[in-house]
C-alpha cells in the first residue's frame, strides 16, 4: 500500500526548508502534537458555520504543517483561512492531545504580518496597534472625539444623510460603537480602600477599551471588590495588556505593552492582579510563555501570570459577602471564549449570579460558542462575525431573558450590536454589573 508514500510522504520525509521565518514561527513540537483526530471540529464556530475543513482548527494546523514542510507558502489559499479564525480557542479546550492552538495561530498571524499587502490596511493597522492602543492618552483622545460625534448631533446628521451607506464597513463600525456618553474610567494611581477590614491588596487592570466603552462596569468592579474586603490599586503606569496586538500577530509590539504592565503591577506591591476583561486576563495569565525566551522578563512574567485572576474567578473564590437585596429577572449568560476556553472558567461567573437573590439564570443553547466578536474580527471579518452574532442573538432570545450577561468587553459590544440589529429589547452587561446592582439596592 503505497498511498501514503506517494502523495505526501515524500515531501514529508524530506523537508529541506521551512516556509516560516524568524523566531516567532509556529514550533514543530506544537504542530506535531496534532494527530488530526478531528475532535476539535464541532467546537469551532467557523467550521460549524461553513462545514468546511479549510475553516476548521484541524485544517488550519494542516496548513501550518504544510508551510512548515515546504508544501505550501504563506500565500493565498492559506492565509485567508488563518484569518477567518476568531481565536476563540474552543478547539484548544476540546483537544485531547494538548495542542496549544492559541499560540500557534498567533504565530501564524505573525508570519502573515510582514507579508501583507495593501497600503491602507497596513496604515490602519499601524495606527491602531502601534499608535493608539499602547497609549491610554491617545485612547482617551479618540474616545473623546467619538463621544463628541455621538453627542453633538453630528451622528444624527451623518445617519440621516446616509453618507455612510457608501462605505458599508464604516457604517457597521459606526453602528457597533457603544454609547460613549457615560464617563470613562481612568487609571491614575488611585487606591480605593476596602470597606471594613482590608483582607486583600489587589491591582485592577484598566487596560484600553474597557475604561472607555465600559467605564461604569469598571466602577462597578471597584465597588464590588472593595465591598468584599479588597483594597483596590489602579496603577497609573499601566496601559493596554497587548493582547490585541498579539492576536493580530504583532508579537513584538504586544510584548512591549505586556512588559509595561508587568512592571506597573509588580511595582504596585499588590497580591493579586485582577482583570474584568476575559481576553486580557487570558493573555496576562500566559505571560510566562510569551517571555520564555527573554531572560530579563521570564521570571517576572511568570510571577505576574501566576498573580492574575479574572474578576469572577477571584470573587467566587472568596467567602463572598452575599447581597441582601435582589436583582429580580431572567438572565442568560454567554461564556466569554477567553474565560471558558482559554482560562477554562465556567463555574465562577455562574456562582456569582447564583448569589444574587431573585436572579434566574436560564442557559442558552451553545453558551460556550463564540459570538463572533474576536477583537478586530468584528471589522476584519464582517460577514462571519455578523452570521455568528445573528445566531447568538436567536439563541439568547429563545431563553426569554431580559438581560444577557457576559465577562468581556468585546462580547458586550457584539451582543449590544446584535440586539439592536434584531430589534430586541434586552440589556447587555457584565456579570459584575449584576452583583453591583444587587449591593446598591440594599439601601433602597
Amino acid at each position: 500500500m503505497a498511498v501514503g508514500d506517494t502523495a505526501a510522504g515524500v515531501a514529508r520525509g524530506k523537508v529541506l526548508a521551512t516556509g516560516f521565518i524568524g523566531p516567532d514561527a509556529p514550533r514543530e513540537e506544537d504542530l506535531y502534537k496534532c494527530v488530526h483526530c478531528g475532535l476539535c471540529l464541532n467546537a469551532c464556530p467557523t467550521y460549524v458555520e461553513t462545514g468546511l475543513e479549510t475553516e476548521s482548527p484541524r485544517g488550519r494546523i494542516a496548513l501550518m504543517k504544510a508551510v512548515f514542510e515546504g508544501r505550501a507558502g504563506v500565500e493565498p489559499g492559506v492565509t485567508e483561512h488563518w484569518d477567518l479564525c476568531i481565536q476563540c480557542r474552543a478547539c484548544e479546550a476540546a483537544c485531547p492531545s494538548g495542542v496549544p492552538y492559541g499560540r500557534l495561530i498567533e504565530q501564524a498571524q505573525a508570519q502573515m504580518r510582514p507579508r501583507r499587502r495593501g497600503v491602507l490596511g497596513r496604515f490602519v493597522a499601524w495606527l491602531a496597534y502601534a499608535q493608539i492602543l499602547p497609549s491610554p492618552r491617545r485612547m482617551r483622545a479618540v474616545s473623546a472625539a467619538l463621544r463628541l460625534y455621538q453627542r453633538s448631533g453630528l451622528r444624527a446628521l451623518v445617519r440621516a444623510s446616509r453618507v455612510l451607506r457608501l462605505v458599508r464597513p464604516l457604517a457597521e463600525a459606526e453602528a457597533s460603537l457603544p454609547d460613549l456618553s457615560r464617563p470613562a474610567f481612568r487609571a491614575s494611581g488611585q487606591v480605593y480602600p476596602a470597606q471594613g477590614e482590608t483582607r486583600y491588596r489587589v491591582g485592577l487592570l484598566s487596560g484600553c477599551v474597557m475604561p472607555i466603552f465600559h467605564g461604569p462596569t469598571m466602577e462597578a468592579a471597584v465597588r464590588v471588590l472593595t465591598r468584599n474586603g479588597c483594597e483596590v490599586h489602579v496603577p497609573a503606569a499601566q496601559g493596554c495588556c497587548g493582547s490585541l496586538n498579539l492576536h493580530g500577530g504583532d508579537l513584538d509590539g504586544g510584548r512591549a505593552m505586556a512588559r509595561r504592565n508587568i512592571d506597573a503591577f509588580l511595582d504596585a506591591g499588590v497580591d493579586v492582579v485582577i482583570s474584568a476583561s476575559a481576553g486580557c486576563g487570558a493573555t496576562m495569565k500566559e505571560s510566562a510563555d510569551l517571555f520564555r525566551d527573554d531572560p530579563a522578563y521570564a521570571a517576572k512574567a511568570a510571577r505576574f501570570g501566576a498573580m492574575t485572576r479574572d474578576i469572577t474567578e477571584f470573587l467566587a473564590s472568596l467567602p463572598l459577602d452575599p447581597p441582601r437585596a435582589g436583582t429580580p429577572g431572567r438572565v442568560t449568560y454567554q461564556d466569554s471564549c477567553h474565560l471558558v476556553h482559554a482560562q477554562r472558567l465556567s463555574a465562577p461567573p455562574r456562582a456569582l449570579m447564583a448569589a444574587v437573590p431573585g436572579l434566574e439564570l436560564v442557559e442558552m443553547e451553545h453558551s460556550d460558542r463564540c459570538c463572533g466578536a474576536g477583537g478586530s474580527y468584528q471589522i476584519t471579518q464582517r460577514e462571519m462575525s455578523g452570521q455568528l452574532r445573528a445566531h447568538k442573538l436567536e439563541e439568547a432570545a429563545a431563553t426569554g431573558a431580559a438581560t444577557i450577561a457576559t465577562a468581556n468587553p468585546g462580547c458586550m459590544v457584539q451582543f449590544a450590536l446584535g440586539a439592536r440589529e434584531a430589534g430586541l429589547d434586552v440589556r447587555v452587561c457584565h456579570v459584575v454589573d449584576l452583583l453591583d446592582e444587587a449591593y446598591r439596592r440594599e439601601g433602597a
Partner: protein, 478 residues
C-alpha cells in the same frame, strides 16, 4: 478540469468548491494514517445538489468519494484515485423527530451526538456512540457501520438505522428501507450500511431512537495489571451481567490520558476498567453492586462509582478522548480494530506486547473489552524514516494474531484502505466474489470511492475480472 470546476460551482455555489492546491491539502487526511489528495472538493448543501455532483463527476469520468467529518480510522474517505471529494458536512439538519414512533430523520452531516441532543427533550437518544461522537457524522457512521462502547448492549449502527435516502451512480435519488424496521422486500439498507461509500451516497438517514434509561451507573475499577482486569471482564460477563459497556485502558493509555483530563488515575495503575450499567433503578443498583464485588475479587485496587451525569462524564472523558490524548506520546498513531473472542483477550494482549517489542514501536491498548473489540494503537513518528512502514507491518502482525485467535479484522472502523490486503485472511475467494457482485448490481462501476474494501486497490475493472462476473457477464448482475 476548468469545465468541471465551473459545473460544480454552478451546482453547489463557488464558496463550496475548493480547487486551489493549498486547500486540497486539508482534505488529504482523515483520523488515521493514509493520505491522498483529491482532484477537487465539492460540498453540497442539499440532497439534490449531492445528486448533481455525482452526475457531473460521472459525466467527466471521475470518481466521487463521499466524506463525513474525516474522523474515520480506516482511510475510508481518502481519495486514493483523486476525483471529486464530496464532504456531506453541510447537510447537517435534523429534519424530523417522531417521539411516538421513536425515530428521527436526519441529514448525513449531522454529528452523532447532536441526534441525541435533539432527542433529549423527548426522553430519547440515539444509542451507538463512537468515541468520536462529538465530531463524527451519522453519514460516516452508516458508511462504516460504526460501533462504540455502548454497542455491547445495543448493537452497532445497522441495528439503529431503518432506512436511507441515497444517490445512485447515475445521479438518481432513491430510498432503501424506511421509517420502520419491518419492510417487505430485499434489505438493501442492510447491504449499504457498512459498504463504505462504494455503492451509493447517503443523503438522509432514518434512525431509531431509544428511551434514555431511568438510571445509569458508571464504575471505574483500577487494576495493577491487564491480567487482573481481563479476568474481571470475563467474570462480569460470566456472572450473567450484561453491562451497557465494558471498556479497558492499559498503562500506556493511562499515562497519556491522565495529563489530558486529570481523571485522577493513579500513576502506577496497570489497567482501568470502565463499566456502565443502565436500566431501571433497582436492578441497576444491584448490578452495580455485583460488578464492584467482582472487580474487588479480581484484584481491583480501587473502585469508583458515579451515577450523576457530571461525574459520569468525567469518568468517561478519559476513555472518549484517549485516542487524541495519545498525541501526547507520539505525533502519529495507527489504530487497529481487530476483534478476538472475549476469552482470548489476555492471550491477544500478550502477543501484542511481543509484536510491540519486535517492531520496536510502543502499542497502547484502549478497547471495548466486553465484546473483545481490541484497539491496539501503534505509536510512531512519520518524520522518522521507515517508521510509517514499520507501523503498517506491526499492524499486519496484530491483525493476523486476531484472525489466528478466531477473531475478525474489524469490529467497527471498516476495511477502507487499511485492511483491504488482509481481507483474504477472513474471506475466501468465493466470499469476496459474492460481495463484488453488488457493485454491478448497484450500477456503481468506478463512480463511488474506488479502491476500497477489496484487496490491493481493486478498481471496478479488477472487480469485473472476478471469476463470477467474468463467467456470467456484467449484465447478469445489473
Amino acid at each position: 478540469m476548468d469545465a468541471l470546476v465551473r459545473e460544480l460551482q454552478r451546482a453547489v455555489g463557488s464558496r463550496y468548491v475548493l480547487s486551489r492546491p493549498q486547500e486540497l491539502l486539508v482534505y488529504e487526511y482523515d483520523g488515521a494514517v493514509e493520505r491522498a489528495l483529491p482532484g477537487v472538493v465539492a460540498v453540497p448543501g442539499t440532497a439534490a445538489q449531492a445528486a448533481q455532483v455525482v452526475a457531473i463527476a460521472r459525466r467527466h469520468g471521475l470518481p466521487v468519494v463521499p466524506r463525513g467529518a474525516g474522523t474515520g480510522l480506516s482511510g475510508g474517505a481518502i481519495p486514493i484515485h483523486g476525483g471529486v471529494l464530496m464532504p456531506m458536512t453541510r447537510l447537517n439538519r435534523v429534519l424530523e423527530i417522531d417521539p411516538l414512533e421513536r425515530m428521527a430523520i436526519v441529514e448525513p452531516g449531522v454529528v452523532n451526538i447532536d441526534i441525541s441532543k435533539a432527542a433529549e427533550p423527548y426522553g430519547l437518544r440515539y444509542a451507538p456512540d463512537p468515541s468520536s461522537q462529538k465530531a463524527c457524522t451519522i453519514g460516516g457512521n452508516v458508511a462504516e457501520n460504526a460501533g462504540g462502547p455502548h454497542c455491547l448492549a445495543y448493537g452497532v449502527t445497522t441495528n439503529h438505522v431503518m432506512g436511507m435516502e441515497i444517490v445512485l451512480a447515475d445521479g438518481t435519488l432513491a430510498w432503501v428501507g424506511g421509517r420502520n424496521h419491518e419492510l417487505p422486500g430485499y434489505d438493501l439498507r442492510g447491504v449499504l450500511i457498512g459498504s463504505e461509500g462504494t455503492l451509493a451516497v447517503t443523503t438522509k438517514v432514518a434512525v431509531r431512537l431509544q428511551p434514555v434509561p431511568e438510571a445509569v451507573t458508571t464504575i471505574l475499577a483500577i487494576f495493577q495489571d491487564e491480567d487482573d482486569a481481563s479476568a474481571a471482564v470475563t467474570a462480569i460477563v460470566g456472572a450473567g451481567i450484561v453491562p451497557a459497556a465494558i471498556e479497558m485502558m492499559d498503562r500506556l493509555t493511562i499515562q497519556a490520558v491522565e495529563p489530558a483530563i486529570h481523571a485522577g488515575y493513579p500513576a502506577d495503575a496497570g489497567a482501568v476498567l470502565l463499566v456502565e450499567v443502565e436500566g431501571l433503578r433497582e436492578p441497576v443498583a444491584e448490578e452495580s453492586e455485583e460488578v464492584q464485588q467482582v472487580c474487588y475479587r479480581h484484584g481491583a485496587t480501587e473502585v469508583r462509582v458515579a451515577d450523576d451525569p457530571t461525574l459520569r462524564e468525567r469518568l468517561w472523558a478519559g476513555r472518549k478522548t484517549a485516542l487524541g490524548a495519545l498525541g501526547r506520546l507520539a505525533p502519529n498513531y495507527y489504530l487497529l480494530d481487530g476483534v478476538v473472542p472475549r476469552t482470548k483477550i489476555l492471550e491477544a494482549l500478550r502477543r501484542i506486547r511481543e509484536i510491540s517489542g519486535e517492531y520496536a514501536l510502543p502499542i497502547a491498548n484502549v478497547f471495548h473489552a466486553g465484546d473483545g473489540n481490541l484497539h491496539p494503537c501503534i505509536l510512531f513518528d512519520e518524520r522518522m524514516p521507515g517508521q510509517t512502514q514499520r507501523s503498517r507491518e506491526a499492524g499486519g502482525a496484530v491483525l493476523r494474531t486476531c484472525i489466528d485467535l478466531g477473531g475478525a479484522l474489524s469490529g467497527e472502523h471498516g476495511v477502507g484502505l487499511e485492511k483491504q490486503e488482509y481481507m483474504e485472511l477472513s474471506f475466501s475467494e468465493a466470499d469476496m466474489d459474492a460481495m463484488a457482485r453488488l457493485n454491478p448490481a448497484f450500477g456503481a462501476g468506478d463512480t463511488f470511492n474506488p479502491g476500497k474494501v477489496f484487496p490491493t486497490g481493486a478498481s471496478c475493472v479488477e472487480l469485473l475480472q472476478h471469476p463470477a462476473i467474468a463467467r456470467l457477464g456484467v449484465d447478469a448482475f445489473v
